[in-house]
């Protein structure tokens, strides 16, 4: 059983070593590297599940894993609490499932591209998982950069236009990372520690100083850029639109959620929200969230490129998470975490569908999807589920996160949030229902096939199954949301909220 005790580190270690070896294996045989990475991703999924079981069975609030057995605050540690494992499970699950989906897109590539793609893909997973489980602020910077660099690569693989998108994202992303680094510097200068748990205690004397406010502002902007929080979202629509279609589902699903989660961890677990600086910050975050929800939705309404519409919709949905955090009470927190997980599945599912349509028909204009329900039944059903979830129709998962957000708003008597949530649901309905209308109603199909359907379901099985799985996950997450909340989220609630 000693291996089970080491499971937290395997979440990161397995994909990391596999990605580094991937190109070498690919040289031997074109597809071998991909299999190695997939195996490692599966291993990471298993380890995160084992870790989750371990954490929940322990009854303790978190499991600390010391790297090389160096005790913190000297050594680097991984801290795994129920929330961390839930997010890690989400990342590894999506990574594993979508890795199958990517393969048909790479069919005609040589070993270098095939292997390179999966190297980047594995490294992206490493970065995301590492950011989630690490308990060291500088370690998080390293994972942030691993995530960003591999993300730039995956976005750049998407074709001609993606180069520019990736380059712009790189510039903006680097500003974010540098601000984060400055924030860490100040934190270290104030507290003399890099360990999160340590910092959370030592920072308390400083919480009313201007320096602390500066740190918090740096973190807000840094993670705001990475999670595409309005008005720092400028890089995001282009990047999502032009990223590699095989990875777009994963990038859109996780790459903005994990920085959001990191921000949530800093604000609720490290800094604590009951001081004047954080109080002011919560207001700012709330306003950013509200603007993001409204403007993101309106911008999404104006798009005709399916992927771009989804990208703007992400801006709006990230606004939900920001609003949930800004409420600063238990329900808002639960809503934010739940939406973080739910939205990852919804958006992944939709991007996978778009990728499938692009793969088979080379079409991304959402006004030319007529008759898709006959040609790609599984995708259409997944789309309907995801759309219902986006609007917030029960029993899909999107409803439950919205439910907790509304409860949080009432609890905090921030009625403006309720109005915004209602309005945004209706805006979502407008721009998502037109897709369903197109798919099911538009009779004259203007789609021309560029790939043969291959199977009865319209696409290769390795693409249909991930779409089906993520679509089903939307429903399952909805039905089991109460056990997710009571068994995982509520166990891992930050102490500041429990007082």
């Amino acid at each position: 059983m000693s291996l089970a005790l080491h499971s937290p580190v395997f979440i990161v270690l397995l994909p990391l070593s596999a990605s580094l070896l991937c190109l070498a294996f690919s040289r031997i045989h074109r597809k071998l590297g991909a299999y190695v990475v997939q195996l490692a991703l599966f291993g990471a999924l298993i380890s995160s599940l084992v870790t989750m079981r371990h954490v929940l069975a322990e009854g303790t609030k978190s499991v600390h894993y010391w790297m090389g057995n160096w005790a913190p605050p000297i050594g680097i540690e991984f801290v795994v609490d129920p929330l961390n494992t839930a997010v890690a499970c989400m990342i590894t699950f999506l990574a594993f499932v979508i890795s199958f989906y990517s393969k048909p897109f790479l069919e005609n590539e040589d070993w270098l591209h095939y292997g390179g793609y999966f190297t980047l893909y594995g490294l992206l997973t490493v970065g995301l998982c590492g950011m989630t489980v690490t308990g060291d602020v500088f370690n998080m910077y390293v994972y942030l950069e691993i995530m960003s660099l591999s993300g730039y690569g995956l976005i750049a693989l998407g074709g001609h236009k993606s180069m520019l998108a990736a380059f712009r994202y790189l510039l903006v992303g680097t500003i974010g990372a540098s601000l984060y680094l400055i924030g860490i510097g100040y934190l270290y200068a104030m507290t003399g520690s890099l360990n999160m748990a340590d910092i959370s205690e030592r920072i308390q004397p400083f919480v009313n100083t201007p320096l602390f406010a500066f740190v918090v502002a740096c973190f807000l902007i840094a993670f705001g850029i990475k999670m595409a929080l309005f008005p720092l979202h400028g890089w995001q629509p282009d990047s999502y639109t032009f990223s590699h279609p095989g990875a777009a589902g994963f990038i859109s699903g996780c790459m903005s959620k994990v920085p959001a989660y990191a921000m949530l961890r800093y604000f609720f677990y490290v800094f604590g929200i009951h001081n004047t600086v954080m109080g002011a910050l919560m207001n700012v975050l709330g306003i950013m969230g509200i603007c993001g929800i409204l403007i993101g939705s309106v911008m999404a309404l104006a798009q005709y490129d399916f992927r771009r519409m989804l990208a703007y919709s992400s801006v709006a949905q990230l606004g939900y998470i920001a609003v949930g955090m800004a409420m600063g009470n238990i329900y808002g927190f639960i809503g934010a975490v739940l939406h973080l997980i739910n939205h990852a599945f919804m958006k992944s599912s939709l991007f996978l569908v778009v990728g499938g349509i692009a793969y088979r028909f080379g079409e991304v204009n959402l006004y030319r999807l007529g008759g898709l329900n006959k040609k790609m039944p599984v995708s259409s059903i997944a789309t309907v589920l995801a759309v219902l979830s986006m609007i917030g129709i029960p029993p899909t998962c999107g409803f439950f996160s919205k439910w907790y957000l509304m409860l949080g708003a009432f609890e905090g008597q921030q009625y403006i949030f309720i109005a915004v949530l209602v309005v945004s649901s209706l805006l979502n309905a407008i721009y998502y229902v037109r897709i369903v209308e197109q798919m099911f109603v538009q009779r004259e199909a203007s789609l021309t096939e560029i790939h043969d359907p291959e199977t009865k379901l319209g696409m290769p099985l390795s693409m249909v199954i991930p779409i089906g799985v993520t679509g089903l996950a939307i429903l399952i997450l909805g039905i089991y949301s109460s056990s997710l909340v009571t068994n995982i989220v509520e166990v891992g609630l930050p102490e500041v909220l429990l007082k």
Binding site: G392, I393, P394, K402, L407, F410, L426, V441, S481, S482
Partner: protein, 503 residues
């Protein structure tokens, strides 16, 4: 007395399973329609098997799973829920046969989707009827919205597209308002379980918060119940095939709205709190305006389905008005009118559909002499029309009598005048159709061609017309015993609140 019993979920599950089976067997029309027929019979059996228990004062309850830590997806069959559940289950059987006849004779496309969505609608209506708390109620409310959307969109043409958008806009907005209200209610009271007589009270929050929540939730119900000025979707939704108009836009969907209003009035806020807040009067006057205005609009409609739609709008406001009066007899009348209007209006719509299938006529002005060739259809139409106008010995009379008594009980006899006026108006907009059908000659120079008689369609019409008369003669006759159920529901709501009316 409460019994743990999974039958409510079995009834819902039957319909949802039928939807699945229907969509799987799209290649075999007979098998497909067999599924929905079998499901309708099983559902009726399940619901009716609980009716006896409910009449004896048993409440059936079952929690499938928990939605949040304290709120479960729970079904509880109380008398009020039983009325609506039994009504929907009872009417699904005739309308299912009628649908088969209508869709086949009218050569409609996309029949699989139609029957699947229809079954989904029935399942969610069942869920709404028996939901034990606001969240469960809301979930099925939204499923109903979503599953009736493809039915409005059935024709897949521009008009249907616009109508369905309108429909979705109205119903989604109402859903979101309801959700906001639900959240508020939960936050101030910490519970969501419907309780006869209401679970909110004045000490929970300041009056303006309670009034705001009331307005939110009632607006949500009023959209589906088509209370003016929130009625716009209903006439537009008449583009749907006639069986859809018959069941959904005369029975299931709109009745869901009326039922939601009654649930909110009687089981969330309760008559006591409402009389303290004094806000139910606003609702009552909105209903009065709707009743009168919709009747006048109905007079001017030439399209038969549209005329019936406006008639529906008016009749639904009877229920809302009955609830808003807050007296025992008015509640009883409201619940009875839920049943009465459903039975009568479904007959009228089925007749209209029959006319469309056989003659392709939509407009009343072209229907001269139609009764000579379609005596049974138009006879049923006449019976139902008289019922809508409140003629004795037809079920509409009983409900209206109770409603009028309720108004007197509330000390507001003015509302009786409203009912009398509206009955006369109903006479004025429905009887001309009967008169033209029977007492005008057929146009000679332009003889119309009649399609084949379909017994699949004719028998359901006779069934509901006879039902209307039977229930009118003896409302306690039928196994669900709507009269006693309504009495139980209304006395449960008003029990424990002594004041406010004179006996």
């Amino acid at each position: 007395m409460t019994e743990i019993d999974p039958r409510p979920f079995l009834a819902i599950g039957t319909a949802f399973l039928a939807a699945l089976l229907v969509s799987v067997s799209h290649k075999y029309p007979n098998v497909r329609e067999m599924w929905s027929t079998v499901a309708s019979v099983i559902m009726f059996g399940l619901v009716i098997s609980m009716a006896g228990g409910v009449l004896d004062g048993v409440t059936y309850e079952y929690t499938l799973f928990y939605l949040t830590d304290t709120i479960g997806l729970t079904m509880r069959v109380d008398p009020a829920g039983m009325i609506f559940a039994a009504l929907a289950a009872l009417l699904w059987m005739p309308i299912n046969f009628y649908s088969i006849g209508y869709m086949r004779n009218n050569h409609e496309a996309m029949q699989t989707g139609y029957f699947a969505a229809f079954a989904l609608c029935m399942g969610s209506t069942m869920g709404i009827a028996m939901a034990s708390n606001l969240l469960t109620f809301f979930i099925f409310y939204e499923i109903l919205t979503i599953s009736s959307y493809p039915l409005v969109l059935h024709e897949r043409d521009q008009e249907a597209l616009l109508a369905s958008r309108k429909y979705l806009a109205y119903t989604l907005v109402s859903g979101q308002l309801f959700l906001a209200g639900t959240v508020g209610v939960y936050c101030i009271s910490g519970t969501m379980d419907f309780r006869a007589g209401g679970f909110l009270s004045l000490d929970m929050a300041s009056p303006w918060v309670l009034q705001l929540l009331f307005v939110l939730m009632i607006m949500a119900g009023s959209v589906k119940a088509a209370v003016m000025p929130l009625h716009g979707w209903l006439p537009a939704a008449m583009v749907a095939p006639t069986p859809v108009s018959a069941l959904l836009h005369a029975v299931a969907v709109v009745k869901t709205g009326a039922f939601a209003v009654l649930r909110v009035l009687g089981f969330v806020f309760g008559p006591k709190l409402l009389s303290q807040l004094g806000i139910a009067d606003v609702l009552a006057w909105a209903a009065v305006i709707t009743i009168i205005a919709s009747s006048f609009i109905a007079l001017r409609q030439d399209n038969l389905k549209r005329r019936l739609a406006f008639s529906t709008i008016g009749q639904l406001s009877y229920i809302v008005l009955g609830g808003a009066l807050l007296t025992p007899l008015a509640f009883k009348g409201a619940y009875l009118h839920l049943v009465a209007h459903a039975v009568m209006k479904i007959t009228l719509f089925m007749c209209a559909g029959c006319i469309i299938v056989r003659t392709h006529l939509h407009n009343i002005s072209e229907m001269n002499g139609i009764g000579h060739k379609m005596p049974v259809t138009m006879g049923a139409f006449a019976v139902a029309s008289l019922g809508i106008a409140g003629t004795p010995f037809i079920i509409g009379f009983i409900s209206k009598w109770n409603l009028a008594m309720g108004a007197i009980q509330a000390g507001k006899p003015l509302f009786v005048a409203v009912w009398v006026a509206s009955a006369l108006l109903a006479m004025a907009y429905l009887m001309p159709v009967v008169r033209m059908a029977f007492f005008r000659p057929e146009p000679v120079n332009d003889p119309r061609r009649y399609g084949l008689i379909s017994y699949c369609m004719l028998i359901p019409i006779c069934f509901t017309a006879i039902l209307a008369v039977l229930l009118g003669v003896n409302p306690e006759l039928f196994p669900p015993d709507f009269y006693r159920l309504a009495e139980m529901a209304s006395s449960a709501i008003t029990a424990g609140w002594g004041g406010g009316w004179s006996d």
